[in-house]
Symmetry: C2
Subunit: 274 residues, 2 copies
């Protein structure tokens, strides 16, 4: 999928919502806890209830790996379910990988060939050769960490790296030459929405993946004010606020209601701005 | 395992060698390629041939994940084999993980509770709360990326972050307060051995995991000259130069010969310096 196709999907669904599929066993509805494949069953029902409201799903690998092979199997089933029933939706492996070149090549194989995801989040610390192997797959995306939404983002991402620039800005400026706006996006946390001004100075055209809306306290209007571009340019993720909105047997229905609330706001925003 | 126990093992084996278990299917001996569990079978034979020469084994997750659930199963079997037959050897999951707090917590569960590794490599970019959950396990280790051995390490790790300090030094200086020398080590690539002087100024006591010896061109003597401390303080990794030294049916025997060569050098170094 290239950026134009992503933009088409955004216009068609009137949404730039990504739903994070981070199933924690202790938070799953009681009715699912004894299921044979509880993570997959949970995801499947969330996906079936929201596929027309979201342009992307983002499973975070941590929530699957912690069940070992059983977790990986349910991740594979989740991705296949989206692929088979709702083609065209962007599948983002939130894996935050990155290693020396020959090793990143293996991770790229894993996420793009084996799991058949469209995009994978990558950590920038190890530099170009840790990222480039992911960019060798036409139609696939690297989503590079730039500015994250957690408290620890203060520790290194805001360090001054000279030339009136902070580390996250250096990451953006250097890495934008590794790929282009059809194969690279960036993670920019919503809890720092005003920083999007700086991000857009460096990257006017790239899509940005914005975590931190909802449970982490980010604000959609702020993000749009500073980050929206002429092709939307934003994918806004919500995980817990949607998928754990309810823990009864009606969880999928309530998750849909929460997703509809977000999608309506997005529809208004797209109507005003495009 | 604490640092004292690790030092005891180093003295006992007269070795500070870590063997990287990075089985690539195309490089495996032909006699194993049709095995039901080729990665595990390869690892098992390497381990059985080298367990008395190495103080640590370091499987890199990328080489297992790229086979999906079958890969994870073989990783689990590999770790169990070391645990069951050679207790006391440090098992390092080279995973380079790191995510927001509640997600890193899941990764910590995966590597310490499910896979029962002793240590996991973690990327620093997301800061303290991405690392702290791994430090809540007594006897377990975080091995934080500081200075990596790949060409891309130039992109960000050497950026000047003020106060005559570079990013990798800031990572060392800030993060050393998150844990202590009994639960944190650092990755410092051997291809930058002279940088170990700077590392030792900041971290005189910590163990360092040194990749890049062998195939990546690092030099053992250089590493020892600049990085050795009064409890050795070094774990030197070699992967390809040992495990792929031979591709015949004698691969494990030849791997042992290569490991013996390294261990003899280490024995001499330990004899001279302790």
């Amino acid at each position: 999928m290239n950026s134009e196709q992503l933009f088409e999907q955004i216009k068609q669904k009137q949404s730039f919502l990504c739903i994070g599929l981070d199933p924690e066993i202790t938070k799953l509805p009681a009715c699912l806890r004894d299921a044979e494949l509880p993570l997959f069953e949970f995801n499947r029902r969330i996906i079936d209830a929201t596929y027309d409201l979201a342009v992307a799903y983002k499973p975070n690998l941590a929530f699957y790996e912690c069940f070992g092979t059983a977790g990986w199997k349910q991740l594979e089933l989740t991705i296949s379910h989206i692929r088979d029933h709702y083609p065209g939706i962007l599948i983002i492996a939130d894996a935050k990988r990155g290693d020396i070149g020959n090793t990143s090549k293996k991770y790229a194989e894993t996420f793009f060939e084996i799991l058949k995801c469209d995009a994978v989040t990558v950590a920038p610390y190890m530099g170009a050769d840790s990222v480039l192997p992911f960019l060798e797959y036409p139609g696939k995306w690297v989503i590079l960490l730039a500015l994250t939404s957690n408290p620890g983002s203060d520790d290194f991402q805001f360090l001054s790296t000279g030339n009136h620039e902070r580390l996250f800005e250096t990451v953006l400026r250097k890495s934008k030459h590794w790929g282009n706006s059809d194969n690279m996006m960036y993670v920019v946390g919503a809890t720092r929405a005003s920083m999007l001004v700086k991000v857009r100075e460096i990257l006017p055209d790239h899509f940005l993946l914005i975590p931190g809306i909802g449970a982490q306290g980010g604000d959609l209007e702020e993000v749009v004010r500073y980050g929206f571009n002429d092709r939307c340019g934003l994918i806004v993720n919500s995980s817990r606020a949607i998928i754990y909105a309810d823990a009864s047997e009606r969880f999928a229905e309530i998750a849909r209601e929460k997703a509809v609330e977000v999608q309506r706001k997005m529809k208004d925003i797209l109507g005003e701005r495009l």
